[in-house]
């Protein structure tokens, strides 16, 4: 009782200095870090780690790191910036500190964030596939120099050198420039990772609806939501028009193989006995432009989306309300076969494209 009263008086008096600039005493610093490490270690114990040396995951993670993490944690080029360094605690330079955490611990931190530090949790907690992509990249980060970092994080985007006037007057910050293209590609180059969908020649109406759903958080993604939330209605439409107008590049990932014979049957005929309709009845030729085109998407991306629905995730958009019940009726083998089948198809426009 006396202790509680003393603590209350201490807070009431305002004696305690909350200035970030004043820092902590060394012993407090040590104590807080000690508590944090133990807490993370305890909670990360039961997390099973998937294979992380997959370059597709690393590339997707790199694309997100550049827009979501680099502002505070810096890049191999820039290090932690002067503003972020004034936070208390200041964000660690990950290329050095990543090695002090296990894979599962990194996953837990990226997913949940850390109280009192400014480290936020993931915007879509259930998208563990995205979080593991970030962890896969973080594992790679200590080995990267500026050039290899840029190759991973910026994809094939080459920012044109800007005139002094443009730099002086352009409102958009350089970080956002090329945010889409870093992962999805632009012009004649396609996505950097097989986990990223091809937008070239995709239906405009579908992309508009998808970006709006990301922005509102009804389609769940810790990678897409922060980016889409920054876009107003007109920007969304301009971006969708741009990508819809690009000519589809030929598949870079996957190729037709024997595995897709079952996939072809599912795609063209479905499996009525198990209440699975043919994919082509909605995704084939001359269908509503609000349905996405699947031909030429990577198998990894398609299978990933089907598994999210099958697991009951991101089911609140109108499109997901259609797909989730169907995905739940599909077996693992069905999902792989149908994904392989569509990844082997030519990306030529399906006819109904606007």
């Amino acid at each position: 009782m006396t202790v509680a009263g003393a603590v209350f008086l201490f807070a009431w008096s305002g004696i305690y200095n909350v200035a970030a600039s004043s820092g902590h005493w060394a012993v407090v610093d040590w104590f807080l870090a000690f508590g944090m490490r133990n807490s993370v270690a305890l909670r990360a114990r039961a997390i099973a780690v998937p294979p992380l040396d997959d370059i597709e995951r690393v590339r997707l993670g790199a694309g997100h790191f550049h827009s979501g993490c680099a502002f505070c944690h810096g890049t191999p080029d820039t290090g932690v910036g002067p503003i972020a360094r004034q936070m208390l605690p200041s964000p660690p330079e990950l290329s050095k500190s990543v090695r002090t955490w296990s894979d599962a611990q990194l996953f837990w931190i990226v997913q949940n964030g850390i109280k009192y530090t400014g480290m936020p949790g993931w915007a879509a907690l259930e998208r563990t596939d995205e979080i593991w992509a970030v962890v896969a990249f973080l594992k790679k980060l200590p080995t990267l120099d500026g050039e290899s970092y840029r190759a991973l994080a910026l994809g094939r985007v080459r920012l044109a050198e800007q005139s002094g006037e443009r730099m002086a007057t352009n409102d958009s910050n350089l970080q956002a420039a090329g945010a889409c293209a870093r992962c999805h590609g632009a012009g004649s180059s396609g996505p950097t990772s097989a986990l990223v969908p091809v937008l070239h020649g995709q239906s405009r109406a579908y992309m508009v609806a998808a970006l709006r759903a990301y922005a509102q958080g009804t389609r769940r993604s810790g990678i897409m939501q922060p980016l889409a939330a920054d876009l107003d209605k007109e920007s969304i439409e301009r971006l969708a028009t741009y990508y819809a107008g690009l000519s589809p590049t030929e598949p870079a990932h996957g190729s037709p193989s024997g595995a897709d014979a079952h996939g072809r049957i599912l795609a063209t005929k479905g499996d009525p006995k198990r209440d699975i309709p043919a994919c082509d009845t909605c995704h084939g030729r001359d269908r509503l432009p609000r349905y996405p085109r699947l031909a030429g998407q990577s198998a990894a991306f398609l299978a990933g989306q089907l598994r999210l629905w099958a697991a009951g995730h991101h089911t609140s958009t109108p499109g997901a309300a259609l797909m989730a019940p169907i995905a739940r009726r599909m077996s693992e083998a069905d999902i792989d076969a149908v994904a392989a089948y569509f990844s082997g198809l030519s990306r030529l426009p399906a006819g109904g494209a606007p």
């Binding site: 479905g270 009525p272 209440d275 699975i276 309709p277 043919a278 009845t281 909605c282 001359d286 269908r287 509503l288 609000r290 349905y291 109108p318 499109g319 309300a321 259609l322 797909m323 989730a324 019940p325 169907i326 109904g352």
Partner: protein, 330 residues
């Protein structure tokens, strides 16, 4: 208090008696099959009532009766006669009567070729297929139309779990068992609209797995069947035409058939003549455009658990166009 309860008895009796007639009642038979069962039911009720009256009387005597009567009730003869012999004989007799009454479906088809109808129970609806006596197959869902007077042979199957086909006004229950076909021969003798119900628990929406049976005059039935065997009619209004193209472009044909269009799915009900049916949404609501639209966008509230995905992808005018098209398929 006494007048009060007497006043209450009138409406109560009316309610009880009203429960005996209606579109889903064993006590209001519409054919010989159901008539036999109704006889059996009434006989059981009557006999049971007599036994109950006798037991109550014996109990009253045992408690309050004069000494001499009590001795009769307590006698060895009474205990063995009424307690052992009577139940054994009467229950055996009842069993024989019941077996005799239900010895077969209608004993013979009176030399007439029965109308063949295949009914498949699926979670949670009824797939109805008429034998292809006509040029093209006639398929329906959750509604069966039959002619009065002619024997009808239902072939009952299941696509998933055990269901039970029960139209109380026409016949007793018969299970639909996965992997085998059961057969039910019935005859309806008066025209009318009856209601059937799945009578074996089959999952989430079991309680809402109903069907409508419409008994028509033979001439009405013949013209109905003739119309059903035709492909879907061409939409005449621009809105219906817009509805048809939306129906096809939105992929509805992946699960539904509309004969005469590319829609040839077999997962869900055949919609070729949807507009001529009594109900919509797997027999959960009256047939009208509003309920068609509602089932597409909010089917999980009308019939929780049904297998049709929810279509919230349409603008209001588009939804209306599709509903107009479907309701127009007569």
């Amino acid at each position: 208090m006494r007048t009060h309860s007497r006043q209450a008895i009138g409406p109560l009796m009316a309610f009880v008696v009203a429960g005996c007639s209606g579109p889903q009642s064993v006590l209001h038979p519409a054919g010989p099959e159901a008539l036999g069962l109704a006889h059996l039911t009434w006989f059981l009720f009557g006999f049971g009532a007599l036994v109950l009256a006798f037991v109550l009387a014996a109990a009253a005597i045992a408690v309050r009766g004069p000494e001499r009567w009590r001795a009769v009730v307590a006698s060895r003869c009474m205990i063995i006669g009424a307690g052992v012999f009577f139940p054994a004989v009467s229950l055996t007799g009842l069993l024989g009567y019941g077996l005799w009454l239900t010895r077969a479906s209608i004993p013979d088809t009176e030399g007439r070729e029965p109308l063949q109808i295949e009914v498949t129970g699926e979670q949670w609806w009824w797939r109805v297929q008429y034998a292809p006596s006509t040029r093209s197959p006639v398929a329906s869902a959750n509604e069966i139309r039959v002619p009065a007077g002619r024997p009808i042979r239902f072939t009952l199957q299941s696509a998933d779990v055990i269901h039970s086909f029960w139209v109380p006004n026409l016949a007793g229950k018969l299970d639909m068992i996965p992997g085998r076909a059961t057969s039910l021969l019935v005859r309806a003798e008066r025209t009318g609209v009856f209601r059937g119900q799945c009578a074996e628990y089959c999952g989430k929406a079991h309680a809402l797995m109903a069907l409508t049976v419409v008994v028509m005059t033979p001439t009405d039935f013949a013209s109905w069947l003739e119309n059903e065997s035709r492909p879907a009619m061409e939409p005449d209004k621009p809105e219906s035409r817009r509805g048809r193209s939306l129906f096809l472009e939105a992929g509805c044909g992946g699960c539904h058939t509309v004969r005469g269009t590319p829609a040839a799915g077999t997962i869900g009900p055949d919609l070729t003549h949807l507009g001529s049916r009594h109900s919509v949404g797997i027999a959960s609501a009256a047939m009208n455009e509003r309920n068609i639209a509602r089932f597409m966008t909010d089917g999980q509230h009308m019939k929780p658990g049904n297998h049709m995905p929810t279509f919230r992808i349409f603008a209001a005018v588009e939804l209306q166009a599709i509903a107009t098209y479907l309701a127009g398929l007569r």
